[in-house]
């Protein structure tokens, strides 16, 4: 194979754009898994659900997919609150998170995936917004809008989340519940209510990431499976609860995966995700940007 600088440069740039999307997918997990200690393995499946509803609603309303993604987010926020309420009632309160709680989320993931197959069929779905075939050129580097627009949208979502978590009272309460739920109770704030809210936000983010995903690439009901490795690897690499760490890890991950796909073929990209996950778990479980536990 001949080394090609412009191929490498393009691989890095589109990897960064892809990384923005991964960051949106993983930032919701940074809230649920990182802050609330809820191992929501159904997160990617909920993201794929968001992608499918964007396709269905977008076709019906005739709106841009990213606009639809924002419009449908409140519905996913409510869905997330319902899921957390059930999880809290049956598992968290009883102290059954480890085995039964994990099985619960696995069951949800499975129900979603099979449900999507039954509702939409197993075929791939994709969308062609008006800008899908436009590409900006900066010298040697191509910037396809199909990837640039969703990538920027994803980063905007994370920016909004960051401001919310650091500026608003509820946002600070979410950070507090992650540190010490009992102390929050002493401040006359119900930690369960805060957690429910935070979990709702994480699911809303998943759905918006799904909307961005379906613009970038075709989506099928089983797309979530590949994302499990990606989002957990990113979340752990980024140091679990840190949003900036999550974004950095996602960008790095997107570049590595995309350069691998450019030079060795895209069918190997799931292996990259898993390899990273294993390496991180084995050698640096506190994450690339996290502090030693």
């Amino acid at each position: 194979m001949e080394f090609d600088l412009s191929l490498l440069l393009n691989g890095i740039v589109s990897g960064l754009l892809l990384g923005g999307l991964y960051a949106a997918a993983a930032s919701g997990l940074a809230i649920s898994f990182g802050m609330l200690d809820i191992v929501n393995i159904a997160h990617p499946a909920l993201m794929v659900t968001g992608a499918f509803t964007v396709v269905a609603l977008g076709g019906w309303l005739g709106l841009d997919p990213l606009v639809v993604a924002v419009l449908q987010a409140p519905a996913f926020y409510l869905l997330g609150m319902v899921i957390y309420s059930a999880y809290h009632h049956f598992f968290e309160k009883r102290g059954d998170e480890a085995l039964q709680g994990l099985a619960f989320f696995f069951g949800i993931m499975f129900i979603i995936e099979v449900g999507l197959v039954m509702a939409f069929g197993p075929e791939q779905r994709f969308l062609d917004p008006s800008y899908a075939y436009t590409t900006w050129r900066l010298g040697e580097i191509d910037l396809p809008l199909r990837m640039l627009v969703p990538g920027l949208f994803a980063l905007a979502c994370i920016g909004g989340l960051f401001l919310y978590l650091h500026r608003s009272f509820t946002g600070l309460a979410i950070a507090a519940v992650a540190q010490d739920a009992e102390a929050l109770r002493l401040m006359a704030i119900d930690p369960v209510r805060i957690k429910r809210l935070a979990f709702g936000i994480s699911i809303a983010l998943a759905s918006m990431a799904g909307g961005a995903l379906v613009v970038v690439q075709p989506v099928e009901p089983s797309s979530g499976q590949v994302f499990i490795g990606r989002v957990f690897a990113i979340c752990i690499m980024g140091g679990m609860a840190s949003l900036p760490g999550c974004v950095m890890a996602a960008l790095l991950f997107g570049v590595v995966e995309n350069v691998t796909a450019t030079f060795y073929g895209p069918s190997w990209s799931p292996a990259v995700a898993f390899g990273w996950l294993l390496l991180v778990l084995a050698f640096r479980p506190q994450g690339l940007f996290g502090k030693a536990a």
Partner: protein, 310 residues
């Protein structure tokens, strides 16, 4: 007569009665359906060793099972060996896979192991799809003799092999439960830090359990290509195996040797009956719902339900 001897005699008698009953029925479909149920007895029993006793959730049942199935295919294509050496190879390959994954992730909290097993299946599928020797995404054919004396048919032979494996797995599960290993694993499940503090070699026990769990899952998959005659990655890595391997022990009663057997017989028979009557997607959907409802309402499974009442 001690309890262990009684268990083995009872299991063998039950097995012989099953074979005799199916012979009297004289229909090949009986063996076909019976194999389907028994493979899940093995898979669920394997999951229970790690998940039930130690409380570590293995989501990668489909991956381990496919590793076993493809080991059997490789052994056949490469050396021309038949089913039984294939089963041994499957046990070795899948056991090493379990050991490797466990070694890399088990020093951390249990969820990391679960996440790793979840991804393992995806990656193994990538490898198999890219591996032309075993047929890649096109799949591999296994052509076997139609008759194989002294059995009445090839399916009967497969059924009897799987019956032996199911009895063996259940026996291993029971032996683990009564041994120091099982008590150590239960201590890990209840409180890993306390177990470590009183001198339970937690990492070593967990590694033994993951290896055993992986090997038995591989064994469950080894006869699969012989059973269906054709195997492609999509069928071998089907999510149905992963969800059933978790749902069956949890519904039957995880952490007891009889629980996975009860769950597997119940759920697999239900699915076998449902596949004939309704679509297979709906059928899997029902299993997913049953899993969610059972872990929420009866977290100790059917056995736990009765034990609490009795």
């Amino acid at each position: 007569m001690n309890a262990t001897l009684r268990f083995w005699l009872g299991a063998v008698a039950l097995g012989l009665a099953l074979v005799a009953g199916l012979r009297l029925l004289g229909n090949d479909y009986g063996y076909f359906a019976g194999y389907f149920v028994l493979q899940y007895v093995v898979l669920a029993g394997a999951w229970n060793i790690l998940g039930g006793y130690a409380g570590y959730v293995n989501f990668g049942a489909a991956g381990f099972m496919a590793a076993g199935a493809y080991s059997a295919i490789v052994v056949r294509q490469w050396l021309g060996w038949d089913l039984l050496p294939g089963i041994v190879a499957a046990a070795v390959v899948a056991g090493l896979l379990g050991l490797g994954t466990g070694y890399l992730t088990l020093r951390l909290k249990g969820v990391y192991f679960s996440i790793a097993t979840l991804c393992l299946a995806v990656v193994l599928q990538t490898l198999v799809v890219n591996w032309d020797y075993v047929g890649g995404s096109r799949g591999a054919y296994i052509i076997h003799a139609r008759e194989i004396p002294p059995f009445t048919s090839y399916t009967e032979m497969l059924f009897i092999v799987m019956l032996g494996l199911a009895i063996g797995t259940t026996g291993i599960g029971r032996a683990v439960e009564k041994s120091r290993l099982g008590r150590g694993l239960q201590a890990i499940r209840d409180n890993e830090r306390a177990a470590e503090a009183v001198g339970v070699p937690t990492l070593r026990l967990k590694l033994v359990a993951t290896t055993l769990c992986g090997a038995l899952m591989g064994v469950a998959g080894a006869p699969l290509p012989y059973y269906s005659g054709y195997l492609n990655p999509e069928a071998a890595f089907s999510l149905a195996y992963a969800v059933n391997a978790i749902a069956m022990p949890l519904i039957g009663g995880a952490g007891t040797w009889a629980g996975p057997v009860i769950g597997a017989v119940l759920l697999a028979s239900l699915q076998q009956a449902a596949t004939v009557t309704i679509s297979s997607a709906l059928n899997l959907w029902i299993v997913g719902w049953m899993l969610v409802v059972f872990v929420a309402i009866a977290p100790r499974g059917i056995l736990g339900w009765f034990r609490r009442r009795g």
